[in-house]
Amino acid sequence: MLKIEILKYLGLKDANSVDEYTNSLIDKALLEVEQQSGFKYIYEKFDEPLPFMKDVSGYQNYLGDSPFLLCATTLGVQIDRYIQRLQLKDMAYATVFDAAASVFLEMKADEFEKNLKFGNLGFRFCPGYSGTSFIDNQEIVRLLKAEKIGITFLESGLMVPLKSMVGVIKIGENVKKSCDGCAAKGDCGFRKNGTYCYRND
């Protein structure tokens, strides 16, 4: 499963056509990402929409009336350093490692969320989706005090460590992972390829 996700990152549409060489690089990368990773996840529950969400259709469509979690997660700065190092040593492997790290973060976050006791969870809705502002990341990080897990921002709004994610997750008994309410519905690259932007398992 992880491999298929990594191959997607690397631009391969047909996972069955992957060669042994790339395959072995992915195996190695997954092992190493796990060793180098300092996975952290923090969250907090909210019942009412927060000021930055009010009157923003992207959030309204996604959340409806559901309570939600704000979450922030990262693999830590050592991964960034390691990718810099790999790029000097072996660009091919660095590329695979970079993709593996992104997928690993998603996987660890999914795993963490599975153990939360809030009933059903929607997919992680990240600021930037559906016309919402990327800048909201900073507000979420501030509210969660995610500086404590090492998440910082560049002037441009990019997060450092690079392998970090910030999001909103709706919760509740009737919640399910679905594309309903997504602004991209109808013109979604993932759906055209028969996949989702979230894992549905």
């Binding site: 690397l10 631009g11 700065v77 810099q84 000097l88 040593k89 500086e147 990019l158």
Partner: protein, 804 residues
């Protein structure tokens, strides 16, 4: 107001003296959490520092509650009052008011200016330059220094930022300074620093108390406190959270009782911790509970102090022989010299990685090449090495300014190479070592040169160590090099070096170093002489040979020496190493196996297609004996690359294989360029940069490899590149094309700005753009001259453009 402050300043001096007298002798109590108290009063805001102005009474009352609970130290409400977190507010006014609030009810307590991290990651991992961070901290120090009794730098997660903050305090104030970091349950900070490493750097740099705050509850902090107790020779400060918060209904709740908190804090007191306090979740009740130990004598403890050099994440002590890698030193290394002259920093960094993989324990960094700016180069290389290697560094230069810059920007405790017995040299170098907390290597020579006898060299060594101690540098922070002389010219003196080594080891008790290969200059069979001399030196007490760790004969000599002299583990090490060497040479290199290479007539074609860099280099070398460079390029390399490119587009091969093949081809081009200068820059020059504000550079680096594989000269400006740097590179290198990369929508704005700036400054070559978020429309909108969807398409487009 100023008059009142002056009067209080006078009082401050007396108070500071009293504090220093008590510190480490009597138990002292810090205050506790502030956020909890703000929440309790219902005044928590986005920027709690502003409450100093809007709610001064509330703030002063919180301090009062802690004073009544029995604390000795009051922390000002200024944790984030820095220019990164509060860019638009009147920070000076906030700080002054915060100090006033802290003082309102104080009687005998010490007011400590609170300084937290800036909330930005320092470059090169982030984008905040070290010097800018320094200025931000300095501004806080200057605003507070005359009105507080000391400083507390707390909750730092990045050792580099803490070092920067400590320098800002030490260089701008004489008041005491305490430093604490936050560690997680792995026993390290978020950036991988251990308590021991933190303690070593902070203690060497002269922090007055060192320890841990926040992080976890007292019980969970136990292993971290244990490590401080064992290794930290400064008074230890511990300020835990109120346990681990339980998540209830999605909210974090602290539950530990004040009694349970105090119970563990009492254990810390019994271990020899000198300052006790609290952090998140604690309140005056907790401080009252731990204040029962107030004023008791601090329990004495044994501290392990030994020679230690470290990066932020890795330390080296000399309980066994340690290898200092000599490859980043231009003496006798033509390629490195050229790399330094041409600013090819990647070459230097790759040398570091190679040595690390060859089991070097630390790396020598010497960038001294005539007519180059070794101070600027030292700064750049040290900062980059901070990012890509965990190995500690030896900062090596005959230029004191380069040494100072190396020490200042290094993230850890470095080894300075070197000082000698000359008075003015010692008076210049020791203060630098003291300021930056370095270990120093002393050479046994002085104004009269290198003495002939071991006794004379020993005398200089003694003089150096004594002078260091006068400068406040303890003996364990000194190492001695008794100087290797060339046996071809001074054969009788070789044994004097060895005798001096033994004398220094036995009588002064410091660790020793030698540049081993100097012994064989002008001799045949240098390796044999070197490894034999190395073994002789090891037997005489050498602890840190400076050698090429990639030379198996030398490293094997060390492994064998350890096996013969050390314990059973060293013997196993030798055996295991021998086995792993055999296995790795027997292994078949992993290669892409889906390539149809059977039809090809050239082994070079096969090697490139399979991405075998070393083989490609070797075959090219052989081919060059009978074949012209141009025919190798035009008849083998370019057609092979075209074939690989076509297969990539058809998805017969994938990105990793394309990159591997390109790397192999780049290796082949490298050999050709080495032999035939005229083959250099056949195709053209490309300037590449990831734009300002963007640190995702993997895409740009893939483009770089592909261009180089086609024989283009690439000037790589790296990531987060200011537009001015791109213009400067254009003027300096006269490129045919400029390529800009950006990953995110937000950084496309910076890309647009760069393009406009370049065009306004008459840059008349095509500017291409690429990156995940771009497309042709966006590229047109920001006035780029070209856009391609991937690296290969970019190379093809540039090829066509240059043909025309």
């Amino acid at each position: 107001m100023p008059q009142k402050e002056t009067a209080v300043s006078g009082k401050t001096e007396h108070i500071v003296t009293e504090m220093i007298e008590k510190l480490g002798k009597q138990i002292m109590i810090f205050d506790g959490g502030f956020g909890t108290e703000l929440e309790k009063r219902g005044i928590m805001t986005k920027c709690p520092e502003m409450l100093n102005i809007t709610n001064p009474d509330d703030i002063a009352e919180i301090h009062k509650d802690y004073i009544e609970a029995g604390c000795d130290f009051i922390t000002t409400n200024t944790f984030g009052a820095n220019r990164c977190k509060m860019p638009n507010e009147d920070r000076k006014a906030v700080i002054e008011k915060a100090i006033e609030n802290a003082r309102r009810y104080r009687t005998t307590q010490y007011v400590m200016m609170d300084i937290g991290p800036l909330g930005k990651m320092l470059a090169p991992v982030g984008e905040l330059p070290f010097d800018d961070a320094y200025e931000a901290f300095k501004e806080m120090v200057v605003a507070a220094r005359d009105h507080v009794d000391g400083f507390i730098l707390e909750t730092f997660a990045d050792l580099y930022e803490l070092k920067c903050a400590l320098l800002a305090v030490k260089e701008n104030s004489d008041k005491p300074v305490f430093t604490t970091m936050t560690f997680d349950n792995t026993g390290h900070t978020l950036t991988g620093t251990s308590p021991r490493i933190m303690a070593e750097l902070m203690s060497n740099m002269g922090a007055d108390a060192v320890g841990v705050n926040c992080s976890l509850g007292p019980k969970e902090l136990k292993p971290i406190v244990d490590e401080f107790v064992k290794y930290c020779d400064k008074p230890i400060i511990v300020q835990p959270n109120r346990g681990i918060p339980m998540v209830r209904c999605g909210k974090a709740m602290y539950q530990l009782s004040a009694e349970a908190f105090a119970e563990v804090m009492n254990e810390f007191y019994l271990q020899g911790v000198a300052i006790l306090g609290g952090c998140c979740g604690t309140n005056p009740e907790f401080i009252k509970a731990i204040a029962v130990n107030k004023d008791k004598p601090v329990v004495k403890r044994e501290v392990i102090k030994e020679t230690m050099i470290c990066s932020a994440t890795q330390s080296v002590t000399f309980d066994k022989v340690r290898i200092c890698g000599e490859r980043i030193n231009p003496t006798g290394k033509k390629k490195l010299k050229e790399a330094i002259i041409n600013g090819d920093f990647d070459y230097i960094l790759k040398e570091a990685i190679k040595q690390e993989e060859a089991h070097a324990d630390l790396l020598d960094v010497n960038l001294g090449v005539p007519k180059t700016d070794d101070v600027a180069n030292m700064k750049r290389v040290v900062m980059k090495l901070n990012e890509i290697t965990n190995l500690p560094l030896q900062i090596d230069s005959s230029n004191v300014k380069a040494i100072e810059v190396g020490c200042r920007y290094y993230n850890g405790v470095c080894l300075i190479n070197s000082v000698n017995g000359n008075e003015s040299c010692m008076n210049t170098v020791f203060p630098i070592a003291q300021r930056y907390g370095a270990v120093v290597l002393g050479l046994t020579m002085d104004d009269n040169g290198i003495p002939q006898t071991a006794e004379e060299r020993f005398a200089i060594a003694e003089r150096i160590v004594k002078s260091a101690e006068k400068h406040g540098i303890a003996r364990h922070r000194m190492m001695i090099d008794t100087l290797t002389l060339t046996c071809s010219a001074q054969q009788p003196l070789v044994k004097e070096t060895l005798r001096a080594l033994r004398m220094v080891t036995e009588k002064i008790g410091v660790k020793t170093s030698l540049g081993v290969s100097n012994v064989s200059f002008g001799m045949p069979n240098r390796e044999v002489i070197n490894s034999t001399f190395l073994t002789m030196a090891l037997e005489n007490g050498l602890t840190m040979p400076i050698i090429n760790p990639c030379n198996a004969m030398m490293t094997n000599a060390i492994l064998a020496f350890n096996a013969l002299r050390g314990n059973a583990k060293d013997l196993d090490n030798f055996v295991n190493n021998a086995i792993s060497v055999e296995t790795s040479t027997a292994q078949i290199p992993q290669t892409p196996d889906n390539l149809n290479t059977s039809n090809s007539s050239s082994p070079l074609h096969d090697a490139v297609r399979r991405g075998l860099r070393e083989q490609s280099v070797e075959i090219t070398r052989q081919l060059l004996e009978n074949q012209s460079p141009m025919s190798i390029i035009n008849e083998i390399l370019i057609p092979t690359l075209n074939e690989v490119g076509a297969d990539f587009e058809k998805q017969v091969i994938f990105l990793p294989q394309l990159i591997s093949a390109s790397e192999a081809c780049k290796g082949a081009f490298g050999v050709i360029k080495e032999k035939f200068q005229q083959a250099d820059n056949q195709k053209g020059t490309v300037v590449l940069a990831t734009v300002k504000g963007d640190v995702h550079d993997i895409g740009k680096n893939i483009v770089k490899v592909i261009f180089e594989s086609y024989g283009y000269k690439v000037i790589d400006l790296g990531k987060d590149t200011p537009k001015e740097t791109v213009l400067e590179a254009f003027r300096k290198h006269n490129p045919d094309i400029i390529g800009l990369s950006a990953l995110m929508t937000t950084t496309v704005l910076s890309m647009e700005e760069t393009i406009h700036y370049l065009k306004d400054n008459n840059v008349n070559v095509p500017i291409f753009v690429g990156g995940a978020v771009l497309n042709q429309n966006l590229a047109d909108e920001i006035k780029a001259d070209g856009y391609t969807k991937d690296a290969l398409e970019f190379v093809e487009a540039v090829g066509k453009l240059l043909q025309n």
